[in-house]
């Protein structure tokens, strides 16, 4: 993710709490599904650090990850690998993945 991309995502996050209040309660994310889906991420993200090109996603806020992954799925963020991975994720899978990474500090 480029620096420019990070800024876009940060701005987008500002409206998320408002949306959360406006959305009816949904089923809790399926953490176990998220854990399974996360295996695909580990191949590239397992050793990521703050300075690596592939970002560290462990402990990332679920709302942030949901937003970023959907942006890749919608091709609003550019990276062929991420667009491919995100491209086949349904909304509930993205939420499961995001919930898993939010609560996982180490691989």
């Amino acid at each position: 993710m480029t620096r420019g991309t990070s800024i876009v995502v940060t701005h987008r996050l500002l409206i998320l709490p408002v949306l959360a209040f406006a959305t009816p309660a949904l089923a809790a994310p399926d953490i176990e599904l998220g854990r399974y889906l996360a295996r695909e991420c580990m191949t590239c993200h397992r050793s990521a650090t703050a300075t690596s090109t592939i970002p560290n996603i462990f402990g990332m806020a679920a709302a942030t990850m949901t937003d970023v992954v959907k942006a890749y799925r919608d091709k609003k963020l550019s990276n062929d690998v991420m667009q491919g991975v995100a491209g086949r994720l349904k909304d509930d899978e993205i939420e499961a993945l995001a919930a898993y990474f939010e609560q996982t500090r180490q691989p």
């Binding site: 191949t43 590239c44 690596s52 090109t53 086949r88």
Partner: protein
């Protein structure tokens, strides 16, 4: 031959990793998984089954060597971007996590009795077996080539001493040298690999200021992976240095002579100062001996779960399998291994299972900071691992993107080896 029980196998073969008070009594024993081969496929399965089942399944990883040099990124060693040590890993962390790591060779698989025979007359029972032996080379696919000939004309398609030999020969060349590569026919390990290697040869020649040397590639294929990208890069970075010949050009490979360094085609005879011969390939010997291969020489698998199509108690992951659209790569092996581990966890550990999904990306370095990639996602379909979507770098991309690709590849390497070896 000494026949060992489950308990004695645990005690003798894995004493260092298994607590002496482990209740491995027949009838009460934990389910057993044996993984043959400690590469990106086998290593990943072993670690993920061990972690997923939290000790409820006894996992043994059988790998002859105490260290593993990755074939992926070995071209960067050829190009001088890495040393061999940086692509060589061990199994200490895997063992510390609780996997029973046994450095031995599996001499046979008794599928009826669900036993593997190890060197030293040990027989080990399994409930599920994972076969991940990688590739063997078809020496006779190149007339005149042999394991002995590879000592002077290295293949370097299994990383380690062969790669060292190739690097030493490359670095000893004088200006005006002729390098000849014989590329392999499909399917083979790492489709873009030969062409990345050619790029690394050219990079080394350029770095040394050798302007009169040339590289000839004798290819049995009419096209190759990332062809447009490589050829664009060769023209940009190494104009006039690399001559790639398809079968129409060279007319067929007649053979090699290791004693004279000759590579002979219908078109010409080349006196190679360095010959890199990469022959046709097939699944590793243990897979062939166990009759897990079909007429292609590779192991057919069920794309839903990575099980062998000929034995539901055996999984085949990595280069030894023939998975349909998915290429043979470390990334693929790692991805396939995670599906196999998930299924094994479900069958032996009552863990929840999910629909199989797979992915792959292959990065290739053409010249410093000029890196291209190809990849895709795959799912079961039409009886194979079917590509869901694919991507490839584009010609004429900006330098910043290609440089980012290179950094991305470095980060990927650090992550995948951590995923495989801990």
């Amino acid at each position: 031959m000494t026949k060992l029980t489950r308990r004695s196998f645990t005690t003798l073969a894995g004493a260092a990793m298994v607590p002496l008070f482990a209740p491995a009594v027949i009838g009460q024993a934990k389910p057993r998984v044996i993984v043959i081969g400690g590469g990106p496929g086998g290593g990943t399965v072993a670690r993920y089954v061990n972690r997923d089942t939290k000790g409820a399944v006894h996992v043994t990883l059988v790998e002859p060597n105490k260290t593993f040099s990755t074939c992926f990124f070995s071209n960067l060693y050829v190009g001088g971007y890495r040393d061999l040590k940086s692509i060589t890993h061990n199994y200490e962390k895997v063992a510390k996590e609780g996997v029973n790591v046994v450095h031995d060779t599996v001499s046979a698989i008794d599928r009826d009795k669900k036993l593997v025979h190890l060197g030293g007359s040990v027989r080990a029972p399994y409930d599920r077996l994972v076969v991940a032996p990688g590739i063997d080379l078809k020496w006779d696919s190149v007339p005149g080539y042999s394991e002995k000939a590879s000592e002077t004309m290295p293949h370097a398609w299994k990383a380690g001493p062969q790669t060292e030999l190739l690097v030493n020969k490359l670095n000893a060349l004088n200006d005006g040298a002729t390098i000849v590569m014989v590329a392999p026919p499909n399917p083979y390990r790492c489709p873009p690999g030969p062409y990345e290697r050619v790029s690394m040869f050219a990079h080394v020649l350029k770095t040394k200021g050798h302007t009169r040397s040339k590289i000839v590639v004798i290819d049995p294929k009419p096209t190759f992976s990332k062809q447009a990208l490589f050829q664009e890069g060769w023209e940009k970075h190494y104009p006039g240095v690399i001559e790639w010949q398809d079968p129409k050009m060279h007319g067929g490979l007649k053979g090699i002579d290791a004693s004279t360094g000759e590579v002979k085609t219908d078109l010409a005879n080349y006196k190679a100062d360095l010959a890199n011969i990469i022959p046709a390939q097939m699944a590793g010997k243990i897979a062939r001996d166990a009759n897990l291969v079909d007429a292609s020489g590779w192991c057919p698998i069920d794309p839903e779960n990575m099980k062998s199509k000929v034995d539901p108690n055996i999984f085949v992951v990595g280069d030894a399998c023939i998975p349909g659209d998915m290429p043979k790569s470390a990334f693929s092996a790692n991805s396939q291994a995670k599906v196999a581990a998930m299924i094994i966890g479900g069958e032996l550990g009552n863990a929840r299972t999910f629909p199989a999904r797979y992915s792959n990306t292959c990065w290739s370095l053409i010249e410093t900071d000029d890196n291209v990639k190809v990849g895709g996602t795959y799912e079961p379909g039409e009886g194979k691992l079917k590509a869901v979507n694919t991507f490839i770098s584009q010609k004429g991309e900006g330098e910043d993107l290609r440089k980012t690709n290179y950094k991305e590849s470095q980060d990927w390497y650090a992550s995948i080896v951590s995923d495989v070896f801990g």
